[in-house]
């Protein structure tokens, strides 16, 4: 009995020492991304960029003298995995805030968990509306913020540019059949039709799995559209551009942020030339913040940064900025995030968050000489202000 008592007190002591040693030291921030699995290129890009941000913050002395401790998990693009990660981040790692460097699928399932726990999360580039919105209670997840665009907003901005600047009158749409493809192409179609363009065909392809787009493209070719809007990720995007060129299709191809990866340029090769995309990163932005990031990234990882990385970096920095203002209490961080105003982000100036949705200009880039270059910016408030959810 006495021995049990002794053992118990030792145990309590050890636990206390551990608890104390971690207290008052680093600021734990959680991070998850699809580091392996089908989206590994994006996962790596997100992780690399956030680690770059982490180094910058800690090298500059951390937040009010405390170092930031980034706790990284791999969700393998698997929502079940993401749920486990969210619970671990809350209960085991006791993070004060979270950055999602992942897609809609994993981000969306973690949002209600962080919301319930009252831990703020900033999502880098997940597009699904239900990341920031609770569809059953019909109210915003007010602890969740999004640095990327809502699918509808990005789609609408792409349509604005396609119809107004590219003068596209006849348009065909081909999109991947998932949250991402559906929401972006719906936003595109609505805006394009409103501006008077005619949508010739709307097709969806299975994701993941579809590789042979020739049957779809042959049908598109029949209508000879001015522009093809393609919503999908870089592998599919590259296949579509290549196969369209093979089939002798000369219509302008327009894509979205899913194209925004060095992998797209590599696989599509010369077929990428001239492709226009709506995205969340302007490589030709002269601000030192942007040019330094692009330079540091290339130096550190020997490849060019992309939208996914830049957006995740921004998400991390937005959270760090809020901790700097509000302190390490999650509730105070949330308050600071809600009060974000005219924040100078890597992916553009964020005027504010509306129901957790970012308000900032959408970048239009074109592939020139095997690189993404600036073509335009869509900053019409009517388009870039996210619609109020209800």
């Amino acid at each position: 009995m006495r021995r049990t008592g002794l053992l118990l007190s030792v145990l309590v002591f050890v636990t206390l020492v551990f608890a104390l040693s971690s207290y008052g030291q680093d600021i734990p921030i959680g991070f998850f991304a699809p580091i392996t699995g089908p989206a590994a290129a994006d996962g790596a890009s997100a992780k690399h960029s956030v680690e770059l941000g982490l180094k910058e913050v800690n090298n500059a002395g951390g937040i009010k003298g405390k170092k930031v401790d980034l706790i990284i998990y791999d969700d393998r693009l698997n929502p079940q995995e993401a749920v486990a990660i969210a619970n671990k981040l809350i209960e085991k790692d006791k993070v004060v805030g979270v950055v999602s460097g992942s897609y809609s699928g994993p981000t969306r399932v973690t949002a209600p968990i962080f919301q319930k726990a009252g831990i703020p999360m900033v999502a880098g580039y997940a597009v699904h509306p239900d990341v920031t919105w609770d569809p059953t209670a019909k109210k915003p997840n007010d602890f969740i913020f999004r640095n990327g665009f809502l699918g509808e907003v990005e789609g609408a901005a792409a349509a604005e540019f396609a119809v107004k600047n590219q003068k596209a009158k006849k348009i065909s749409i081909i999109s991947m059949d998932n949250d991402f493809g559906r929401s972006i192409s719906a936003g595109f179609a609505m805006r394009a039709e409103k501006l008077g363009a005619q949508i010739l065909t709307k097709q969806m392809y299975k994701f993941p799995g579809e590789k042979d787009f020739r049957p779809f493209l042959t049908r598109i070719k029949e209508g000879n559209p001015d522009l093809i809007f393609a919503a999908g990720y870089y592998n599919e995007a590259a296949s579509i551009c290549r196969q369209a060129k093979e089939l002798g299709i000369t219509s302008q191809i327009m894509g979205e942020e899913g194209f925004d990866s060095p992998k797209f340029l590599e696989i599509a090769g010369p077929a990428a030339e001239g492709v226009i995309i709506a995205t969340n990163l302007d490589r030709d932005d002269p601000r030192p913040l942007v040019q330094n990031f692009l330079k540091n990234y290339r130096q550190a990882y020997k490849e060019d940064a992309d939208m996914v990385g830049a957006s995740s970096y921004d998400a991390f920095m937005i959270l760090v900025n809020a901790i700097q203002k509000g302190g390490t209490d999650p509730k105070a961080i949330q308050k600071a995030l809600l009060e974000t105003k005219d924040y100078n982000g890597l992916t553009g100036k964020i005027s504010r968050f509306v129901q957790g949705e970012v308000v900032k200009p959408v970048q239009i880039q074109v592939v020139k000489g095997g690189k993404f270059r600036r073509l335009g910016v869509v900053d019409d408030p009517e388009i870039i202000t996210p619609p109020m959810k209800q």
Binding site: Y205, K211, R219, S239, K263
Partner: protein, 285 residues
């Protein structure tokens, strides 16, 4: 558009044929469902990709890819299936599934999770007649498939080994009693079937310009459906079934414009065949 879609369908159907033939030949002779065949297919694509990177000649990389797959197929037969042949056929099936999963993971670990671009210069050129266009990669697929099928046909009907192989498929014991080395015939069978799968891997690598670790996962089960459709072990039936599946998929998407998952087509066809023609399209009861 009809002609173009026909070309699209026959091209993809030809690749299905190259993959499924090896599977049906193995089943015909050993009665094993060789799931790892899809891994051999992906391996061919990787070997082809690596040799293209090293040598820079597409046609040579095609041959090396085929050789690599043939060798792998032979090793699987000799060291995995042969020792298990005295067991019920469920044992090699389980081994095959396990091997396939292991191969996919091995590709991911060795070559990385990313998609690799083949970016090959084939040097054939498009075939353009009016508004109809057979793209360079489609010309390549049709040409290679045709050559392989003609060689296979000549081999099976005109040579003694081919004759012995067909005899083995019907009755290995009687064939053996005529002095035929059955185990050598089985090895040749695996070599040929795997080389064709390797060719399919390289062709898809060029057609899609992508080589990726899980590229075998859809063919693994689609080829199975095609083989059943063609009548297990029936070679002309398998070719016919592959082309039909390729065309049906293409027409569902490109002409009927039914938003229908392409990979379901082969299985619906398989179910129909099992219900109405259980011996396959060309099979006899």
């Amino acid at each position: 558009m009809l002609w173009q879609q026909l070309a699209n369908g026959i091209a993809i159907g030809s690749v299905y044929a190259l993959i499924s033939l090896g599977l049906t030949m193995v089943y015909g002779i050993l009665r094993i469902l060789h799931i790892a065949h899809a891994g051999i297919y992906a391996l061919g694509a990787y070997v082809g990709w690596v040799s293209f990177r090293l040598i820079g000649d597409f046609w040579l990389s095609l041959f090396i890819g085929m050789a690599g797959s043939a060798l792998a197929g032979y090793l699987v037969e000799r060291f995995l299936y042969m020792p298990l042949l005295h067991l019920p056929r469920i044992a090699p099936l389980i081994v095959s599934i396990g091997l396939f999963t292991a191969m996919e993971e091995a590709f991911r670990i060795v070559a990385g999770p990313h998609t690799l671009a083949y970016n090959a210069q084939v040097g054939l050129g498009d075939l353009v007649i009016g508004s109809f266009r057979l793209t360079e990669t489609q010309v390549l697929i049709l040409l290679v498939t045709l050559i392989i099928l003609v060689i296979l046909w000549a081999f099976l009907t005109k040579t003694r080994t081919g004759l012995a192989m067909r005899a083995c498929a019907q009755d290995p014991e009687t064939t053996s009693s005529f002095g035929v080395n059955v185990s050598a015939i089985i090895a040749v069978n695996f070599l040929i079937g795997s080389a064709m799968a390797g060719a399919a891997g390289v062709l898809i690598g060029v057609y899609d310009n992508q080589v990726w670790p899980t590229m075998g996962s859809i063919p693994a089960y689609k080829a199975l459906a095609i083989v059943v459709l063609g009548g297990l072990g029936n070679i002309p039936g398998t070719v016919l079934a592959s082309i039909i599946v390729g065309l049906a998929e293409t027409f569902f998407i490109g002409i009927l414009a039914i938003p229908f998952p392409r990979d379901a087509v082969a299985f619906i066809a398989m179910i129909l065949v099992l219900m109405f023609r259980p011996y396959g399209l060309l099979g006899k009861a």
